[in-house]
Amino acid sequence: MSSLVVETPGLLTTVQDFGREGFGVLGVSASGAADAVALQIGNLLLENGAGTPALEMTLTGGTFLFPDGAVICLAGGNFGAQVDGKALELWRSHAILPGKRVVIGATRDFARCYLCVAGGIGVAEFLGSASTHLLSGLGGCQGRALRKGDVLPIGRLERNIRRRKLRAGVLEELKPEKTLRVTRGPQSDWFPEEARRILVSGEFVVSEESNRMGLRLDGPRLAARENKEMISEGTPLGAIQVTPSGQAIILFVEQQTTGGYPKIANVIGVDLHCVGQLRPRDTIRFEEVSLAEARALWIKQQKLLSSEERLFA
């Protein structure tokens, strides 16, 4: 078995795939890649399955040694990856010779970069997924972020990989935006008209206290009309819940599965990958769309991502 050796792990690097959806009854949230679109394209460029496990790096990269060589692809934010001082372009496959190390720096644009490897990262699955769930210490590499000295098995190359190229316009269409589209939340009528207006007209800043569980937003307060006690209920991915002090929190991939704060709105499916690319101190806005518009956009995005002809030149 070939392997990857972690020489420096970076700020927070975890093994992620599409996550384990469907275990809400056990209290398990899906986890999975924060930017599932980047993960998918990175994998497809290597002819991997779309949700093959990869390394998700956060704000800074790390140094990874490939003793037996590998074919890799970097997808998502540009973290300035190099081999022997030579830059590795994003969104294309690169052959790494045996004994070479990939050195990945700090982000120049977005929050997360994926290091995809042909054949994938081989870790034991928990409930059908390799995704790391940090809060409960399950999945991925011993349920935790990577550390110096970790050795991860990687897939062996069975054949040559075609050098695939993305079609012009694909990256532009899937570029992470800082205006997030939302639909109304299940408790949106708990909020005064004024709060709902501020949500879609104000600017919010992603707080430093944001992680894979949720993004706390600084900015205008959105307090509910009355401090009505809410009965805890299931919380969808991307829900914008509001604390009694009026702070908005976007629930994200490692979210609590249930919650008792009113939800004013919900980020739509096609924009969830944009949430995964937000950095602390980024300024964001919200724009309301209808359920029907959100659904049409979702079907369009799914069609693009599942069509080799549309993705690759």
Binding site: G24, L135, T183, P186, I231, P236, A239, G269
Partner: protein
């Protein structure tokens, strides 16, 4: 039954508007039928006190279709017999280092610590749902006399097995996680183990009773 769109890919189904046995029985019946006869486009079901959050594949169905299908399921679920609940006993060493908030909780209610423990063990609790973290069961209802608010500032880390109370609920922390519930004791049992089937000790619909044990018993059970 009431429906509410929760996101572009999720629908909330309310089977009541309060915390109680009747609404929750409806939740469990509908859940059991959806588990027995799965619908292909349902991606996740999250039960809670009186609701189910249904996450679905939006390319395959829209809210109206999900609503129609769930309505038909619910009609049939009403006639399903509900299996008799399991009764689980959870041993707990109360107070001291294992229950750092026991004295505070007692003082807040003008009770002796022993009385708080007595009230906590007197009831058989109903497992309403699992949430927060894998295996974390929301157990209710706590006796009114010891209903206590969450901590103002949650702890950064709560030891695995800690028994906490918050509002009219009680729970056992399956993992060392951050937590804001008031801790009154700890169990030596492993609440969640990924190498066990089932992984979680407590499941939705179970009945749970707590039994007080000494520190020596706690340590002996831990070792075995």
């Amino acid at each position: 039954m009431r429906f509410q769109a929760a996101s572009d890919q999720a629908l909330l189904v309310y089977l009541g508007e309060e915390i109680g046995a009747a609404a929750h029985e409806g939740v469990v019946r509908l859940l059991r039928l959806l588990q027995r006869e799965p619908i292909t486009w349902i991606r996740n079901i999250q039960p809670a006190y009186c609701s189910l959050l249904i996450t679905f594949d939006a390319a395959a169905a829209d809210h109206a279709e999900v609503q129609a299908k769930i309505t038909a399921y619910e009609k049939r679920a009403e006639t399903l017999p509900v299996a008799k609940a399991r009764l689980l006993e959870v041993p707990v060493c109360y107070g001291g280092e294992f229950g750092p908030d026991l004295e505070d909780v007692a003082a807040q209610h003008g009770l002796q610590a022993e009385k708080v423990v007595e009230l906590h063990i007197a009831r058989t609790y109903h497992a309403y749902f699992l949430g927060f973290a894998p295996g974390f069961a929301y157990l209710g209802d706590l006796a009114e006399e010891i209903t206590t608010s969450r901590l103002e500032t949650p702890r950064k880390e709560v030891a695995a097995g800690s028994v906490g109370i918050a509002g009219r609920q009680t729970a056992v922390y399956p993992f060392a996680t951050p937590g804001g519930w008031r801790l009154i004791g700890r169990t030596p049992l492993e609440i969640f183990r990924k190498d066990r089937e089932p992984m979680g000790l407590i499941a939705i619909g179970d009945q749970v009773k707590f039994r007080p044990i000494t520190r020596a018993e706690f340590l002996a059970m831990r070792r075995s």
